[in-house]
Point group: C2
DNA sequence: GTCTATAGGGAGATAGAC
DNA sequence: GTCTATCTCCCTATAGAC
């Protein structure tokens, strides 16, 4: 929660770690940096986590938990399927920019995780992907074998925002979510200039 | 070019480095690993490159060069603008999966590059992005402030394929390029199941 | 739950012979 | 252009006191 509290506890360490992993990646981050950000000494990290890899796995886990929670919180809004998709796109973007550094760390660092860590996370990750497949099946009418591909393209668009979107800039997260959703469903051609 | 040649030379080292950076990221890759893959000793790397960062910058440079070359090679095909976009999407995917490891290394590792390296590369990268903005302006009719955003979404979709697409799987690169282009231009809703 | 002290290893890089 | 040998630094992790 804080960077300088006297006893940050497990969660404080976890959050400082996630922030570093986002900024530098896993390998480039040292336990000493995480400790310094947390306001404790490096050796104290090992009271909360057995190893740096263990800490990394905990960050990835929390990243998924935040995503799944946000997805479930959108709930079964009884609107059109297009608006339901928009709500979930907005929620996913929210996890990247508004709900702490965990999901961002997951998205940017998962790919570079050591194989053992990655295998440990995959089952949880699958649950989130299944939720999206179900959602998309209710929204678009593509062939069954195309649907996971379209989901991956949408994920690619959404997750790439972590590399370039500035939540304090001209475009708001709401606007970005609307743009991504409309582009995904109706295509870039539908966005006529003469609006 | 080869992993075990007696004198791999600068290019062999560069290629081995790119492969490692794709697989492990920059920080997790050691100069000793690159040397071993190249068939030389670690100290010999420093005959070709002043430092590991220097080698990294050379890999990123080459990654852009490959992208720009592929873009230019598509040329001014006098087809419809949709088909021209398809050709460029196919060319970009080709740089990720068919033209060596340099572009893949650029896409996956650029974000984690040390600030000095990144700043050195940005101007070259800008040239590639300008080419795409120009291409998209001829293809879609979106508002001027939306166009760069739409390009970033398309880049996000295309570049994410490096994390999940298997060029030896069921779907070919040609099919993937067609799917991405059609989804980008016309949206996922246009892909009706009853085809 | 945090500290000091330190073990043990591997990293990037250099010197100088061939 | 590549080698062997080595420097120096900093990494993860442990031991044991408070």
């Amino acid at each position: 929660m804080s960077l300088t509290a006297e006893a940050p506890g497990r969660h404080g360490v976890l959050e400082a770690a996630a922030r570093r992993f986002v900024a530098q990646g896993y390998a480039a981050t040292t336990v000493r940096q995480i400790a310094e950000d947390s306001g404790i000494k490096a050796a104290s990290i090992y009271h909360h986590f057995a190893s740096k890899e263990d800490l990394f796995a905990a960050v990835l886990d929390e990243g998924i938990r935040v995503m799944v929670d946000a997805f479930e919180e959108v709930g079964l809004v009884a609107q059109s399927s297009d608006l339901r998709l928009l709500a979930h796109v907005r929620a996913h973007l929210g996890t990247l920019f508004e709900h702490g550094p965990f999901t961002a760390a997951h998205v940017t660092a998962f790919f570079t995780a050591p194989a053992e860590v990655r295998e440990r996370i995959v089952p949880v990750r699958d649950g989130y992907e299944r939720r999206w497949n179900r959602l998309l099946r209710e929204t678009i009418d593509a062939a069954n074998r195309e649907l996971p591909l379209l989901r991956l393209l949408l994920f690619g668009s959404m997750n790439s925002t972590i590399e370039w979107f500035d939540p304090d800039g001209e475009t708001s997260l709401d606007q970005l979510a609307a743009l991504i959703t409309d582009q995904f469903l109706n295509g870039a051609k539908s966005r006529k200039k003469g609006a």
